[in-house]
Symmetry: C2
Subunit: 250 residues, 2 copies
């Protein structure tokens, strides 16, 4: 039997409480100031691959949506990442963070040096959205329910602990604090409206679990490659590659 | 300008020399007898996901091949894994290995507990074969060029170091020693015949690099999850799950 709307929302939130990547030890290390500059750079390089893929994921979603209303509601996600005349967009903001930590933005944007495991996880998400039901695709986006807390902690922790952190370099996260709640309010209510059978609720919950796996696997790969005992896989970024010639004063 | 056949073959073999997963420290640990029983089990569980996906990969390939000759040549790969009236097939052989290391074969076959990062990497390979050119798909299979050495080392190392190892439990590897050379001789000659421009050679080499990444990422994920400092991701196999009720005498 289907759960009530309230029960089902609580079930989704519980998935975040148990599996969202704010629980991963890499984030403690990052926000607590224990990351070396190269570990921060590795995070910026690999997380860029996720940022760079998200608008493709959203376009894949929209390519399967027949309702103009739903497409219209979803479109702002692409604008938030890719930018508009008024808004530089999340991807350019991320590249400013890259520059602030001493990386050449063009190197980061090339996606050379991204860990294969990062690509596999992120590509799995794009393909999930391309192949699964619309309900599962929207449900997978609901990790944004849990993002405001991690973004707020991140801003606070980075500002306190790293010289590169300032309003400009962290603008990505400040903007997500504004953008994510509007997206996720829409996505959550859409999922609660459409998951009207037990089968659909199970599928939506499973999709959200899948997405937490995608996020967690990225931090596992990052830790295995760049945190002691570090073992960088063949072909992935080696510290001192892709550094900006003139390092910004920090 | 395209390389000669000999030059191009040497280039492909060099990729293996530099990036094949026989270079990964997990294999030293496994073959040298340093793995705990639970680490061996984790390897068996996760590597099963790869075995289980390979015939789907081969079917995806054949679904795109218009030449009956090429399909006919390729079909034996599916038979080798899934079995025939005379041959139990690699998947059942792998499940015998699972039983020998104390796991419930049904648990292993369920693919519950497989690391998300294993799924992402292996699924990336299946999708690569489904989406890329036939040349890239065949080139990606050429990691089998490098497999006989690792299988021979593995048989020797496991027999020497682990009580579970015997002719029955290791029959998967002995059979691959017979099967892989015939597959790879065909695949190599097909790639050398068809990669007749520099562009195609570059694409084929890149496909083989991609495949080495798929294999390497699986061992990285396994190590990060189950080798100290071990950190098992949410939902993945926990030691003592899926054990056979009656452990085989070893």
């Amino acid at each position: 039997m289907a759960q009530t709307r309230e029960q089902f929302e609580a079930r989704l939130r519980q998935i975040g409480a148990e599996r969202y990547h704010d629980l991963h030890p890499f984030h403690d290390r990052l926000h607590g100031g224990s990351c070396t500059p190269d570990q921060v750079r590795a995070w910026v390089i690999n997380r860029y691959y996720y940022q760079h893929s998200i608008p493709m994921k959203d376009a894949a979603f929209m390519s399967r949506v027949e309702s103009p209303d739903l497409r219209r509601a979803w479109r702002s996600r692409i604008e938030d990442h890719d930018g508009t005349a008024e808004n530089e967009g999340g991807i350019r903001r991320w590249l400013r963070l890259a520059e602030a930590v001493g990386l050449e933005p063009d190197y980061v944007a090339s996606c050379e040096g991204v860990l294969p495991a990062t690509r596999f996880a992120v590509d799995a998400y794009v393909r999930f959205v391309r192949e699964k039901t619309l309900l599962e695709a929207v449900a997978a986006s609901l990790t944004e329910l849990f993002a405001p807390k991690i973004h707020a902690n991140r801003i606070q922790g980075l500002l306190k602990n790293y010289a590169f952190a300032d309003d400009s370099s962290l603008s990505y996260f400040r903007n997500r604090l504004k953008e994510a709640p509007k997206d996720v309010a829409f996505g959550l209510s859409w999922v609660l409206d459409h998951a009207d059978t037990q089968e659909k609720q199970d599928a939506a919950a499973k999709a959200l679990v899948f997405k937490t796996d995608v996020l967690w696997a990225q931090l596992d790969a990052l830790s295995a490659a760049y945190v002691e005992p570090a073992r960088i896989p063949p072909g992935a970024w080696q510290p001192h590659e892709g550094l900006a010639r003139q390092r910004k004063a920090s």
